[in-house]
Protein backbone atom coordinates (compact mmCIF):
# COMPACT_ATOMS: atom_id res chain seq x y z
CA UNK A 1 0.00 0.00 0.00
CA UNK A 2 1.09 3.59 -0.60
CA UNK A 3 3.16 4.83 2.30
CA UNK A 4 0.85 7.70 3.18
CA UNK A 5 -2.36 5.74 2.57
CA UNK A 6 -1.37 2.97 4.95
CA UNK A 7 -0.39 5.41 7.67
CA UNK A 8 -3.20 7.91 7.44
CA UNK A 9 -5.85 6.41 5.19
CA UNK A 10 -5.63 9.48 2.95
CA UNK A 11 -4.22 9.73 -0.58
CA UNK A 12 -2.01 12.76 -1.08
CA UNK A 13 -1.95 14.98 -4.16
CA UNK A 14 1.46 13.46 -5.00
CA UNK A 15 0.01 9.94 -4.84
CA UNK A 16 -2.91 10.89 -7.05
CA UNK A 17 -0.68 12.54 -9.61
CA UNK A 18 0.69 9.04 -10.29
CA UNK A 19 -2.72 7.42 -10.60
CA UNK A 20 -3.66 6.02 -14.01
CA UNK A 21 -7.26 6.83 -13.21
CA UNK A 22 -6.82 10.59 -12.84
CA UNK A 23 -7.49 12.87 -15.85
CA UNK A 24 -5.28 15.71 -17.00
CA UNK A 25 -5.93 19.33 -16.03
CA UNK A 26 -6.65 20.10 -19.66
CA UNK A 27 -9.30 17.40 -19.90
CA UNK A 28 -11.01 18.57 -16.70
CA UNK A 29 -11.23 22.08 -18.16
CA UNK A 30 -13.10 20.74 -21.19
CA UNK A 31 -16.00 19.11 -19.37
CA UNK A 32 -17.05 16.44 -16.87
CA UNK A 33 -14.68 13.50 -16.54
CA UNK A 34 -14.18 10.61 -14.12
CA UNK A 35 -11.60 10.98 -11.37
CA UNK A 36 -10.62 7.55 -10.07
CA UNK A 37 -8.86 7.40 -6.71
CA UNK A 38 -8.18 3.68 -6.70
CA UNK A 39 -4.54 3.04 -5.94
CA UNK A 40 -4.36 -0.33 -4.25
CA UNK A 41 -4.13 -3.74 -5.88
CA UNK A 42 -7.41 -5.33 -4.88
CA UNK A 43 -9.03 -7.84 -7.25
CA UNK A 44 -11.99 -5.80 -8.49
CA UNK A 45 -13.36 -4.60 -11.82
CA UNK A 46 -17.03 -3.46 -11.86
CA UNK A 47 -15.95 0.02 -12.97
CA UNK A 48 -14.72 -1.43 -16.24
CA UNK A 49 -18.01 -3.14 -16.92
CA UNK A 50 -20.35 -0.34 -15.99
CA UNK A 51 -18.74 2.23 -18.28
CA UNK A 52 -20.86 2.58 -21.44
CA UNK A 53 -17.97 4.16 -23.35
CA UNK A 54 -15.32 1.59 -22.45
CA UNK A 55 -13.26 4.38 -20.93
CA UNK A 56 -12.08 2.41 -17.93
CA UNK A 57 -9.75 -0.54 -18.28
CA UNK A 58 -8.80 -2.95 -15.54
CA UNK A 59 -8.05 -5.92 -17.74
CA UNK A 60 -7.75 -9.64 -17.15
CA UNK A 61 -5.45 -9.15 -14.19
CA UNK A 62 -8.18 -7.71 -12.08
CA UNK A 63 -5.77 -6.55 -9.43
CA UNK A 64 -4.45 -3.99 -11.87
CA UNK A 65 -5.39 -0.39 -11.15
CA UNK A 66 -8.16 1.03 -13.36
CA UNK A 67 -6.81 3.11 -16.24
CA UNK A 68 -8.91 6.01 -17.48
CA UNK A 69 -9.09 6.92 -21.17
CA UNK A 70 -9.98 10.56 -20.72
CA UNK A 71 -10.93 11.02 -24.37
CA UNK A 72 -13.47 8.18 -24.32
CA UNK A 73 -14.87 9.32 -20.96
CA UNK A 74 -17.77 11.76 -21.17
CA UNK A 75 -18.21 12.13 -17.43
CA UNK A 76 -21.59 10.36 -17.27
CA UNK A 77 -20.84 9.30 -13.69
CA UNK A 78 -22.17 5.73 -13.81
CA UNK A 79 -18.87 4.61 -12.30
CA UNK A 80 -19.43 6.69 -9.16
CA UNK A 81 -22.05 4.44 -7.50
CA UNK A 82 -20.66 1.14 -8.77
CA UNK A 83 -17.29 1.30 -7.03
CA UNK A 84 -17.42 -0.82 -3.86
CA UNK A 85 -14.68 1.36 -2.39
CA UNK A 86 -16.57 4.61 -3.09
CA UNK A 87 -13.35 5.77 -4.71
CA UNK A 88 -14.62 7.24 -7.98
CA UNK A 89 -15.70 10.85 -8.54
CA UNK A 90 -16.50 13.17 -11.44
CA UNK A 91 -14.88 16.58 -11.85
CA UNK A 92 -16.03 19.28 -14.29
CA UNK A 93 -13.94 22.44 -14.40
CA UNK A 94 -15.89 23.80 -17.36
CA UNK A 95 -18.97 24.50 -15.24
CA UNK A 96 -18.33 28.24 -14.98
CA UNK A 97 -15.39 30.61 -14.65
CA UNK A 98 -15.79 30.65 -10.87
CA UNK A 99 -17.03 27.18 -10.05
CA UNK A 100 -16.28 23.56 -10.77
CA UNK A 101 -18.62 20.61 -10.30
CA UNK A 102 -17.67 17.60 -8.19
CA UNK A 103 -19.78 14.43 -8.26
CA UNK A 104 -19.35 12.12 -5.28
CA UNK A 105 -20.90 8.95 -3.82
CA UNK A 106 -23.07 9.35 -0.71
CA UNK A 107 -24.62 6.61 1.44
CA UNK A 108 -26.10 8.42 4.39
CA UNK A 109 -29.34 10.00 5.48
CA UNK A 110 -30.70 12.52 5.03
CA UNK A 111 -29.92 13.18 1.40
CA UNK A 112 -29.17 16.85 0.78
CA UNK A 113 -31.64 18.97 -1.18
CA UNK A 114 -30.78 20.65 -4.46
CA UNK A 115 -29.89 24.27 -3.87
CA UNK A 116 -28.69 23.68 -0.31
CA UNK A 117 -25.50 25.36 0.85
CA UNK A 118 -23.09 22.90 2.44
CA UNK A 119 -19.43 22.73 3.39
CA UNK A 120 -17.09 21.13 0.89
CA UNK A 121 -15.01 18.60 2.82
CA UNK A 122 -11.59 17.30 1.83
CA UNK A 123 -10.06 13.83 2.09
CA UNK A 124 -9.07 14.47 5.70
CA UNK A 125 -12.60 15.41 6.68
CA UNK A 126 -11.82 19.14 6.89
CA UNK A 127 -14.36 21.69 5.68
CA UNK A 128 -12.36 23.70 3.14
CA UNK A 129 -14.97 25.82 1.39
CA UNK A 130 -18.63 26.50 0.93
CA UNK A 131 -20.40 24.52 -1.74
CA UNK A 132 -23.85 24.29 -3.30
CA UNK A 133 -25.76 21.10 -4.04
CA UNK A 134 -26.73 21.15 -7.71
CA UNK A 135 -27.83 17.58 -8.34
CA UNK A 136 -28.84 14.56 -6.23
CA UNK A 137 -29.26 11.22 -7.99
CA UNK A 138 -30.56 8.14 -6.23
CA UNK A 139 -32.21 5.87 -8.81
CA UNK A 140 -32.84 2.21 -8.07
CA UNK A 141 -30.10 1.08 -10.43
CA UNK A 142 -27.48 2.80 -8.24
CA UNK A 143 -28.41 0.28 -5.52
CA UNK A 144 -28.65 2.82 -2.70
CA UNK A 145 -25.40 4.64 -3.42
CA UNK A 146 -26.62 8.15 -4.13
CA UNK A 147 -24.55 10.56 -6.19
CA UNK A 148 -24.37 14.20 -5.12
CA UNK A 149 -23.02 16.94 -7.38
CA UNK A 150 -21.59 20.00 -5.67
CA UNK A 151 -20.64 23.33 -7.16
CA UNK A 152 -17.38 24.35 -5.49
CA UNK A 153 -14.98 27.24 -6.00
CA UNK A 154 -12.64 26.13 -8.83
CA UNK A 155 -9.59 26.11 -6.57
CA UNK A 156 -11.09 23.27 -4.52
CA UNK A 157 -12.14 20.97 -7.36
CA UNK A 158 -9.36 18.51 -6.56
CA UNK A 159 -9.85 18.70 -2.80
CA UNK A 160 -13.56 18.37 -2.14
CA UNK A 161 -14.58 14.71 -1.95
CA UNK A 162 -17.37 14.86 0.66
CA UNK A 163 -19.66 17.43 2.23
CA UNK A 164 -21.07 18.40 5.61
CA UNK A 165 -24.40 20.02 6.37
CA UNK A 166 -24.23 23.58 7.63
CA UNK A 167 -26.84 23.33 10.32
CA UNK A 168 -28.29 20.52 12.42
CA UNK A 169 -30.78 18.74 10.19
CA UNK A 170 -34.30 18.37 11.52
Amino acid sequence: MRESLSKTGVLTKEDLAQSPGVPSEERMERGPVAYIECMEEIPCDPCEFVCPKGAITVGKQIIDLPVLDEEKCDGCGLCIPICPGLAIFVVDKSHSDKEALVGLPYEQLPLPKVGMKVYGVDREGKAVCEARVVKVLNPKKFDRTAVVYLAVPRAFALDVRHFAFMEEEE
Binding site: E107, Q108, L109, R144, A146
Partner: protein
Amino acid sequence: MRVTEHPILGKMDAVREVEFEFDGKPMKGYEGEPIATALMAAGVKVFRYTIKGGNPRGVFCAIGRCTDCVMTVDGMPNVRTCVTPLRDGMRVQTQKGLGAWEETK
Protein backbone atom coordinates in the same frame (compact mmCIF):
# COMPACT_ATOMS: atom_id res chain seq x y z
CA MET B 1 -31.48 3.79 19.99
CA ARG B 2 -33.54 2.29 17.18
CA VAL B 3 -32.44 2.93 13.64
CA THR B 4 -35.86 3.34 12.08
CA GLU B 5 -34.55 4.78 8.82
CA HIS B 6 -31.32 3.58 7.25
CA PRO B 7 -29.63 4.61 3.98
CA ILE B 8 -29.13 0.97 2.91
CA LEU B 9 -31.66 -1.01 4.92
CA GLY B 10 -34.50 1.43 4.32
CA LYS B 11 -37.43 1.80 6.66
CA MET B 12 -38.05 -0.83 9.31
CA ASP B 13 -40.57 -3.48 8.33
CA ALA B 14 -43.85 -3.37 10.22
CA VAL B 15 -43.36 -5.52 13.28
CA ARG B 16 -45.82 -6.33 16.01
CA GLU B 17 -45.16 -4.47 19.21
CA VAL B 18 -45.43 -6.56 22.35
CA GLU B 19 -45.39 -5.79 26.04
CA PHE B 20 -42.99 -7.33 28.50
CA GLU B 21 -41.75 -6.75 32.03
CA PHE B 22 -38.22 -5.77 32.98
CA ASP B 23 -37.51 -5.92 36.73
CA GLY B 24 -41.20 -5.38 37.30
CA LYS B 25 -41.38 -2.35 35.00
CA PRO B 26 -43.65 -2.47 31.94
CA MET B 27 -41.73 -2.21 28.66
CA LYS B 28 -42.45 -2.47 24.96
CA GLY B 29 -40.48 -4.27 22.27
CA TYR B 30 -40.89 -5.96 18.90
CA GLU B 31 -42.15 -9.51 18.72
CA GLY B 32 -39.36 -11.93 17.86
CA GLU B 33 -36.43 -9.55 18.26
CA PRO B 34 -33.73 -10.64 20.70
CA ILE B 35 -34.66 -9.69 24.27
CA ALA B 36 -31.29 -7.91 24.41
CA THR B 37 -32.10 -5.48 21.61
CA ALA B 38 -35.51 -4.61 23.09
CA LEU B 39 -33.68 -3.73 26.30
CA MET B 40 -30.90 -1.80 24.55
CA ALA B 41 -33.44 0.17 22.52
CA ALA B 42 -34.99 1.18 25.83
CA GLY B 43 -31.61 2.32 27.13
CA VAL B 44 -30.91 -0.66 29.36
CA LYS B 45 -27.27 -1.74 29.20
CA VAL B 46 -26.65 -3.62 32.45
CA PHE B 47 -28.10 -7.11 32.17
CA ARG B 48 -26.54 -8.93 35.12
CA TYR B 49 -24.00 -8.79 37.91
CA THR B 50 -21.17 -11.30 38.26
CA ILE B 51 -20.96 -13.92 40.97
CA LYS B 52 -17.77 -12.91 42.75
CA GLY B 53 -17.25 -9.22 42.12
CA GLY B 54 -20.84 -8.14 41.53
CA ASN B 55 -19.62 -6.45 38.32
CA PRO B 56 -22.12 -5.20 35.74
CA ARG B 57 -22.22 -7.04 32.42
CA GLY B 58 -24.08 -6.57 29.13
CA VAL B 59 -23.91 -7.63 25.51
CA PHE B 60 -20.48 -8.60 24.21
CA CYS B 61 -20.60 -11.04 21.28
CA ALA B 62 -24.27 -10.72 20.28
CA ILE B 63 -24.28 -14.20 18.70
CA GLY B 64 -24.95 -16.38 21.73
CA ARG B 65 -21.42 -17.56 22.44
CA CYS B 66 -19.98 -15.57 25.32
CA THR B 67 -22.92 -15.65 27.81
CA ASP B 68 -22.20 -12.13 29.04
CA CYS B 69 -25.81 -11.14 28.28
CA VAL B 70 -27.63 -13.82 30.31
CA MET B 71 -30.63 -12.83 32.36
CA THR B 72 -33.47 -14.57 34.19
CA VAL B 73 -36.44 -14.88 31.83
CA ASP B 74 -39.86 -16.18 32.95
CA GLY B 75 -38.25 -17.60 36.06
CA MET B 76 -35.46 -19.38 34.22
CA PRO B 77 -31.91 -18.13 34.85
CA ASN B 78 -28.97 -17.97 32.40
CA VAL B 79 -31.03 -17.24 29.31
CA ARG B 80 -28.89 -15.81 26.50
CA THR B 81 -30.87 -12.67 25.74
CA CYS B 82 -28.99 -11.87 22.52
CA VAL B 83 -30.36 -14.97 20.78
CA THR B 84 -33.69 -15.50 22.58
CA PRO B 85 -36.71 -13.99 20.83
CA LEU B 86 -38.96 -11.64 22.76
CA ARG B 87 -42.54 -12.82 23.28
CA ASP B 88 -45.59 -11.03 24.60
CA GLY B 89 -45.79 -11.04 28.38
CA MET B 90 -42.21 -12.18 29.07
CA ARG B 91 -40.79 -11.41 32.52
CA VAL B 92 -37.15 -10.37 32.24
CA GLN B 93 -35.02 -9.80 35.32
CA THR B 94 -31.52 -8.51 35.92
CA GLN B 95 -29.62 -11.58 37.08
CA LYS B 96 -27.41 -11.62 40.15
CA GLY B 97 -24.68 -14.24 39.92
CA LEU B 98 -26.02 -17.59 38.77
CA GLY B 99 -29.61 -16.59 39.41
CA ALA B 100 -32.17 -18.99 40.79
CA TRP B 101 -34.85 -21.18 39.38
CA GLU B 102 -38.39 -20.20 40.24
CA GLU B 103 -40.25 -23.08 41.80
CA THR B 104 -43.12 -24.14 39.57
CA LYS B 105 -46.35 -24.01 41.49
